[in-house]
């Protein structure tokens, strides 16, 4: 195996396949692809060690554009296939690309269980709050009363919150970032790569054809400082154009937005701690009158499934010796016929 210390001198181009990218012009997916192709060469890992696995939907065309190993599978099932691959081949870096429909609707079960098991796979969920490939039906993250082709009178479905699902599944790495926030996206990808265990990143992504502007308040230059809250481990929760607003906890444990100054100073604010589940939970449910947190909600360590499975194999070999087929076939009560 190649030592990771060797400088591979890979570039973005090494990770671009010869296939023409076929997303709609202006799609947020282009930016995500560009950031992934920017980050991967910096990791100094041979590209044959990467496998991108996707389901069905616009986002799931992603593997075709990466010059790595890739598997474009079936609707919702990418986490299951990725789990099998990672468990069989822990030496590989397995990334899953999915969307809000693929990952949270048809494949919700697999997403939950891949995260729960802490299989060492990285899951990028592109959330554009719409079904794009099937030309514009509402998705499980679409807002209530959303008018789409399949809901001309407005949807009466409540949306699901991807970060809450991941936290509820006890994922060991949960983050949110935005397609156009290039630097933040790159940093989040690197953190996910470095994390041992399953990593979940919700990427807020714009579908400029069927749901244009879904995240506009969070990406608009004039409003984003007030509408987003950038999470940094060990730092107080401060946001706003003038960095004068913060999040404080009331006596009843509910969060409130406060303006710094007067009797309110930084020491009263919540300080982000990625290791505390309660913090992640509060942040995941801030609600409409709060800024939208981006960054790492939760990062902690526990045994990964792939590790556990292989430790058991090694322990079994130590205890029983390497498998002896002749012996196992002849096990139990036997008799001889002359």
């Amino acid at each position: 195996m190649m030592s990771e210390a060797t400088e591979l001198k890979l570039t973005r181009k090494d990770f671009a396949s010869d296939q023409e990218v076929r997303w709609c012009p202006g799609c947020g997916d282009y930016s995500i692809l560009a950031q992934v192709q920017k980050v991967l060469p910096e990791l100094n890992i041979p590209r044959e060690k990467f496998v991108f696995i996707s389901g069905i939907g616009c986002s799931s065309r992603f593997p075709y554009y990466m010059n790595t190993y890739g598997f474009h599978t079936i609707h919702g099932r990418a986490p299951a296939i990725a789990t099998g691959l990672k468990v069989a081949r822990p030496d590989l870096h397995v990334w899953v690309v999915t969307g809000d429909g693929d990952g949270l609707s048809i494949g919700g079960n697999h997403l939950i269980h891949a995260l729960r098991r802490n299989v060492g796979i990285k899951i990028l969920l592109f959330n554009n709050r719409i079904y794009g490939l099937t030309k514009g039906q509402y998705s499980p993250t679409s807002e209530l009363f959303k008018v789409t082709k399949s809901t001309p009178f407005g949807s009466v479905d409540y949306p699901i919150n991807p970060v809450e699902i991941a936290l509820g599944a006890e994922a060991t790495f949960v983050a949110r970032t935005i397609d156009v926030e290039a630097k933040h996206l790159q940093e989040t990808l690197k953190r996910a790569h470095e994390h041992k265990g399953s990593a979940f990143i919700e990427i807020l992504q714009n579908c400029n054809i069927f749901n244009d502007g879904a995240w506009e308040p969070l990406t608009d230059k004039n409003s984003k400082a007030d509408t987003t809250l950038v999470l940094e481990h060990g730092k107080p929760l401060i946001f706003g154009k003038r960095r004068d607003k913060g999040i404080r906890l009331r006596r009843d444990m509910s969060p409130e937005v406060v303006t710094l100054g007067g009797e309110v100073d930084q020491s009263q604010l919540l300080v982000h701690d990625e290791t505390r589940p309660a913090m992640a939970y509060i942040l995941s449910r801030l609600g409409a009158h709060f800024p939208t947190p981006i960054g790492v909600f939760r990062a902690w360590k526990r045994m990964t499934y792939d590790q556990g499975a292989h430790v058991q194999v090694e322990n079994a070999k130590k205890k029983l010796g390497p498998g002896n087929l002749e012996a196992i076939l002849n096990r139990g009560d036997t008799w001889v016929v002359e």
Binding site: V51, G84, A88, H110, H113, I328
Partner: protein, 628 residues
């Protein structure tokens, strides 16, 4: 049943009193039955082991309800285990028992109609009280109303004697009562001269952590055994001599264990790690359990969140270069079909073991059926050919599981392996092969980047290269979208699509040239050809052999390769005037035979969750032979 089809010595009603007489019989069918919590499956399995070690040929039929502990004493809670053992080759668990070991009135009610006239009934008198008789629907006590007159009844107070045998251990009534299955086993073992040592050893190892329970069960077993010896009740002790099986070393095993061992052996011979993705489902779960013990063989077992994830993880592992298997039963098979479709499209080796059960829907989970054949061959979107195999007997599960792996990796194709509940839970002696006798499975992972194309093909098998991710210079993308021949790039070209559809079909068709010649039991031509597949082998063979012994012109072909069908079948079928296809479904193989060979084949169908009986097959074949 002897090989030449003549009836052999049967248990006779004992007439003499006095010292115990030894009587040799050639074949005995015993059925144990009681409440589903009475431990009848255990008693049956241990009796099977004792019998196998004694060298007689055996075939078993466990028959239990889907409820783990149905209400005690009720008819639907009755759990039974039938074993047929013989000094001759036998092929089935026997149509009708010679002996019933009945732990309560409900068991008797359910099983009595099957007992042969003059047969033996051993019953636990302690359970024949008013309440239990009522629950079983008896208005009068069958022991007293004459309804058992044509049988030899041995009333034994099994419960009380069991309790007494373990009295000193102070276990409490509930725990002590649970030992009664071993009393019954001990008594039956004595009656049929079976050695109880294997069971004692088994108890010692099973209850290693609770020596008190081990002691109690051993005492109950021995008490039952000695009771047979000393009680005035039993005048005769029966012996069945060892069978004349082919020379070799044998063990007794169920079809599910044989399946697990077959997969294990194949992966071992291929030198490739094995991955099993599975979701618990009756009657397939035992394969997952068995395989989970083989971790020191580099076996990875993955209990998934559902059937889809189980096959999905297996496909991911196949992509990663493992011998990848998923195990399931009918309802789970349905859920896996989309993933099998993807395996067809991406041309990856994947083994899907479907241990069929009674359906549709949840159906009869613990009962047997073979109604998933058409689903296995055709039940996917679009043109989606796969190889379909079916073992014929519990021991044959080993060979066909091995074969499934061989074909999957050689042709880079999904293989469906169709066993069923009867094969999976049934047991028979298996001649243990030497590892050196097993064929080596050649696996070649492509590593050479020179001229590499993901969908280039081996000229002989049409297999595409198997490339493990991580191999430098061979990075490529696969997926469910239509693929360009060679490059594997996404292509919607109409002619390319048809070419790929035909290539995938041709690849599966070529498997027909890679299978052993079809064996004909009986004459190579004649009046009637019976065609069977899967677990009906034993019953059909016995029926055909008996009829041949009576001079009937009937031959038998049993198919273990269902898709593609063996190439030589088209030459065999026309040599017969009539074709009959018995199946435990409404007529699935028969449809294919009719379509493929333009022959007026007829079906004989049974969908009762139970295997064919030899007698009903003989009757049907006879009737069909005589029909104009």
């Amino acid at each position: 049943m002897s090989k030449d089809g003549t009836k052999t010595a049967r248990i006779e009603t004992p007439t003499s009193k006095g010292p115990k007489r030894h009587e040799e019989v050639e074949e005995v069918v015993i059925r144990f039955a009681g409440d589903s919590g009475d431990g009848m499956q255990l008693a049956g399995m241990q009796f099977t082991n004792e019998t196998a070690v004694a060298g007689t040929d055996i075939a078993t039929l466990p028959d239990f309800p889907a409820e783990i502990r149905a209400p005690a004493g009720t008819l639907f809670g009755v759990s039974g285990f039938q074993i047929n053992f013989s000094s001759h080759d036998i092929f089935t668990p026997g149509d009708n028992p010679d002996v019933l070991v009945m732990m309560n009135p409900a068991a008797l009610k359910v099983n009595l109609k099957e007992l042969k006239p003059g047969g033996i009934i051993i019953l636990d008198t302690a359970e024949f009280n008013e309440a239990n008789l009522r629950k079983a629907g008896y208005e009068t006590d069958p022991r007293e109303d004459g309804s058992l007159d044509k049988y030899q009844v041995f009333p034994v107070d099994i419960t009380t004697m069991t309790l007494r045998s373990v009295e000193e251990l102070n276990l409490g009534q509930k725990v002590a009562t649970r030992c009664k299955n071993f009393f019954a086993l001990g008594l039956t073992s004595w009656l049929f001269t079976r050695p109880i040592d294997p069971t004692i050893q088994w108890i010692q190892s099973r209850f290693k952590k609770s020596p008190e329970l081990a002691e109690a069960n051993i005492r109950a077993l021995k008490t039952g055994y000695h009771f047979g010896e000393t009680a005035e009740m039993f005048a005769v002790q029966y012996a069945v001599k060892p069978a004349r099986l082919a020379p070799g070393k044998y063990r007794n095993l169920t079809g599910n264990t044989a399946t697990a061992l077959g997969f294990l052996a194949a992966a071992d011979r291929a030198g490739v790690p094995l991955f099993l993705g599975s979701y618990p489902i009756t009657p397939a779960s035992d394969i997952l359990h068995e395989m989970s013990n083989y971790k020191n063989f580099n076996v990875l077992t993955f209990q998934a969140e559902d059937e889809i994830a189980a096959v999905g993880a297996a496909l991911g592992a196949a992509y990663g270069g493992a011998v990848a298997i998923t195990t399931t039963s009918g309802p789970g098979m349905l859920l896996k079909q989309e993933m099998i479709n993807l395996a067809v499209m991406t041309e990856l080796p994947l083994i899907i073991a479907n241990i069929q059960r009674g359906g549709p829907s949840t159906g009869m989970p613990t009962k047997t059926e073979q109604a998933d054949l058409l689903m296995a061959i055709y039940g996917r979107a679009s043109e989606s050919p796969v190889v379909v195999l079916a073992p014929a007997t519990p021991a044959d599960c080993f060979s066909m599981a091995f074969e499934a792996v061989r074909l999957a990796v050689k042709y880079m194709v999904p293989v469906v392996y169709l066993s069923d509940g009867y094969l999976g839970n049934g047991a028979e002696p298996w001649r243990i092969p030497k590892v050196s006798e097993l064929p080596k499975i050649e696996v070649h992972f492509r590593t050479d980047p020179q001229g590499f194309q993901p969908y280039s093909r081996d000229p002989e098998t049409l297999a595409r290269p198997w490339v493990r991710p991580g191999t430098p210079g061979l990075e490529h993308r696969i997926g469910g979208l239509a693929k360009e021949d060679g490059s594997g790039n996404v292509s919607y070209d109409p002619l390319n699509n048809e070419k790929m559809v035909r290539l995938r079909a041709e690849k599966v068709a070529r498997v027909a040239m890679d299978v052993p010649p079809t064996e004909i039991r009986g004459d190579r031509s004649g009046k009637l050809l019976v065609i069977g597949w899967g677990s009906t082998y034993g019953a059909i063979l016995e029926a055909v052999e008996r009829l041949r012994a009576r001079g009937q012109s009937v031959s038998f072909v049993h198919l273990r390769y269902l898709n593609p069908l063996p190439a030589d079948l088209k030459n065999i079928i026309p040599r017969f005037e009539k074709v009959l296809v018995p199946e435990l479904n409404m007529g699935q193989l028969v449809k294919i035979i009719r379509a493929e060979y333009l022959v007026d084949a007829r079906g004989f169908n049974k969908v009762q969750g139970q295997p064919f009986k030899v007698a009903e097959l003989m009757e049907k074949i006879q009737e069909f032979l005589e029909a104009q």
